[in-house]
């Protein structure tokens, strides 16, 4: 059995590991170094400048706007998505009513339709909603408003509203996935739990908070981490849908968009990499924090 074992292990691992080192590990490692250089322009000769880029980031108002938007999304995207998804998943699986517990009629249909946005590319959805939000008679939302003689809403052109439009699109896309995820979790909760609670006189709301939520906590926690990381990685919706790619007036820009803009529009490779390093620490910090804060005693059933 040991015949050719070593050769087999090396043969199977060599190519995947090589590919991974070249395309994933080496860029990440280089990024930390590039972040400490003043590399500008494709053919320039970069010099080591230490933490200079990070110092400049502190004074960069646009970057701080981007950070602030990411932090807002980091809180609002999980809260909004998880609340809506839990509500629907509960209706579809438990809150159907009647004696005992069961899903609402047609729950299969809803789960299929709610999942639609999940299979579409974010870039495609961004183009689609750019048209939905159009400020003229051709806009899906503003068209009827204008027909009624109401001023059109600047979903993407009003700096006070634009970020909410971005958030709306992100939630619109995410909800279906979490309805399905939470449904799978709820399906594994034994029916006797609910029946016992019902006999004790619990209503549907009480059942949700006393039975479903505690038993589903692990899954909710996973969803929380996923959505948080998704919020830190927002790019395509902002880049494709919003005016001036992060505007108007930087009102929707996010860190990923600033990284792309600085690297591939301005060719400030060092500066963009410094932003990437900041994003990296945000992501790691969030993941650690989320897992710490939401740690609870696991309920066995």
């Amino acid at each position: 059995m040991t015949h050719g074992r070593t050769r087999f292990i090396i043969g199977f691992l060599a190519f995947p590991v090589l590919l991974y080192l070249v395309y994933v590990i080496s860029p990440y490692a280089q990024a930390f170094y590039i972040a400490m250089t003043n590399w500008r322009g494709v053919n320039a000769n970069p010099q080591f400048v230490g933490l200079e880029n990070f110092r400049r980031l502190l004074d960069d108002a646009v970057f701080w706007k981007a950070v602030w938007h990411n932090l807002l999304l980091l809180i609002l995207l999980p809260v909004g998505t998880i609340t809506i998804a839990l509500f629907f998943a509960y209706l579809l699986n438990v809150g159907g009513g009647g004696r005992g517990v069961g899903g609402i009629r047609g729950s299969g249909f809803y789960k299929v339709v709610f999942f639609f946005p999940q299979v579409l590319a974010v870039a495609i959805i961004a183009v689609l909603f750019q048209q939905v939000f159009r400020p003229d008679r051709g806009g899906m939302l503003n068209g009827p408003l204008m027909a009624l003689g109401i001023e059109p809403i600047g979903f993407l052109s009003n700096p006070d509203i634009a970020l909410w439009s971005v958030l709306g699109v992100l939630i619109w896309q995410a909800v279906g996935f979490y309805v399905v995820l939470f449904s799978a979790g709820m399906a594994s909760i034994p029916k006797e739990m609910y029946e016992a609670a019902q006999i004790d006189g619990a209503g549907r709301a009480a059942m949700f908070f006393r039975v479903t939520l505690p038993l589903l906590w692990d899954t909710v926690q996973v969803g929380w981490v996923y959505l948080g990381i998704a919020a830190l990685d927002v790019f395509a919706v902002v880049w494709v849908m919003t005016a001036e790619q992060g505007g108007p007036d930087h009102s929707t820009t996010v860190i990923a968009a600033e990284i792309y803009r600085n690297a591939f529009d301005y060719f400030k490779f060092g500066y963009a990499s410094a932003m990437g390093v900041v994003l990296f620490f945000f992501t790691i910090g969030f993941a650690v924090l989320a897992l710490r804060l939401s740690r609870r005693e696991r309920i066995e059933y």
């Binding site: 292990i9 691992l13 051709g138 395509a236 992501t283």
Partner: protein, 299 residues
């Protein structure tokens, strides 16, 4: 005593009262929120430009199928579509082959450095891809300088994009499949070894077929993830190589770059071309796709 189903249902409805109806209303409202933008896009794809801008909710006087023809031909959506198919077919195949090979060795063989290599792969799950973008651009550019193979894997080539897709799909694929291989029984493989089968043969003819459910889930996950990728092609396939562009990139550029003289009817047709196949494929394989996409989160 016998009670008909209808009577039971009637009794339930009375007991539930308005709350049950409110639940249904909430579900219907979200259904509308999901379906209407998609249906509206589809409707607009058959309208003329005048019809689109004179009223968002009017029906076309006659269905303008030529919008679809223009999007497919002049806006190059046909080309982008084909490019996406080629890239995703190759990259998903490569991801599954290399990913399952690495996952199998790492999960079923003990050797020095095993744990370190496994952690190296899994650590990739935690990194934001935006950190790597700049160096990645230069890595791919440098690969293009290699003798002989360089011209196939440099910037603005499908080969380069495919290799990058594979590399960035490995962390999840290895993580998921390694966990899956660990759950498989060892008896069958041991029996095959006794019969003199080689390690390679045991992997391809015994372990891979046994791991089929896991392979299917991750394949679906990778196909969708790579098909919907936008960021990486944006960096690696520049404006000088429009004939190489993938679907997401192509359609996004129709709307961002075109400005006022954009062909809006064709844009809606292009959007419909990107959306419809996904909705149809998803509806047919919904069980597998839902399972494939949520599998990662449930592990």
């Amino acid at each position: 005593m016998t009670i008909s189903r209808a009577e039971v249902r009637q009794a339930r409805r009375v007991r539930l009262g308005p709350l049950s109806y409110l639940s249904h209303v909430a579900l219907v409202v979200w259904t509308i929120l999901v379906v209407v933008p998609l249906a509206w896009t589809f409707l607009a794809s058959f309208k003329s430009e005048d019809e689109i801008f004179s009223g968002a909710w009017t029906f076309p006087a006659v269905p303008r199928f030529d919008n679809w023809a223009r999007a497919w031909e002049q806006a190059h959506v046909g080309q982008y579509f084909l490019n996406s198919v080629i890239v995703v077919a190759c990259s998903t195949f490569g991801t599954m082959l290399l990913g399952s090979m690495a996952a199998y060795v790492l999960s079923r063989y003990r050797f020095r450095g095993n744990r370190a290599i496994y952690l190296l792969f899994v650590s990739g799950l935690a990194f934001p891809v935006y950190l790597a973008l700049t160096p990645l651009f230069f890595v791919v550019q440098n690969m293009g300088q290699l003798p002989l193979i360089g011209q196939f894997i440099g910037l603005n080539t499908h080969g380069g994009l495919i290799l990058v897709y594979i590399a960035y799909s490995l962390p999840f694929t290895v993580f998921f499949l390694a966990a899956f291989f660990r759950t498989l029984p060892t008896a069958v493989a041991e029996a095959a070894f006794v019969d003199g089968a080689s390690h390679t043969r045991v992997f391809f003819q015994i372990m891979l077929p046994m791991a089929r459910p896991g392979i299917v889930s991750v394949t679906i996950f990778n196909v969708l993830g790579q098909w919907n990728q936008y960021q990486l092609p944006l960096v690696l396939l520049s404006g000088e190589a429009r004939d190489k562009w993938v679907l997401t990139q192509g359609i996004a550029s129709i709307s961002t770059a075109a400005g006022y003289d954009a062909d809006w009817s064709a844009l809606f047709a292009a959007l419909s071309m990107a959306i419809l196949p996904m909705i149809i494929i998803y509806t047919v394989f919904q069980r597998q796709i839902q399972a494939g996409l949520t599998a990662g989160a449930l592990k």
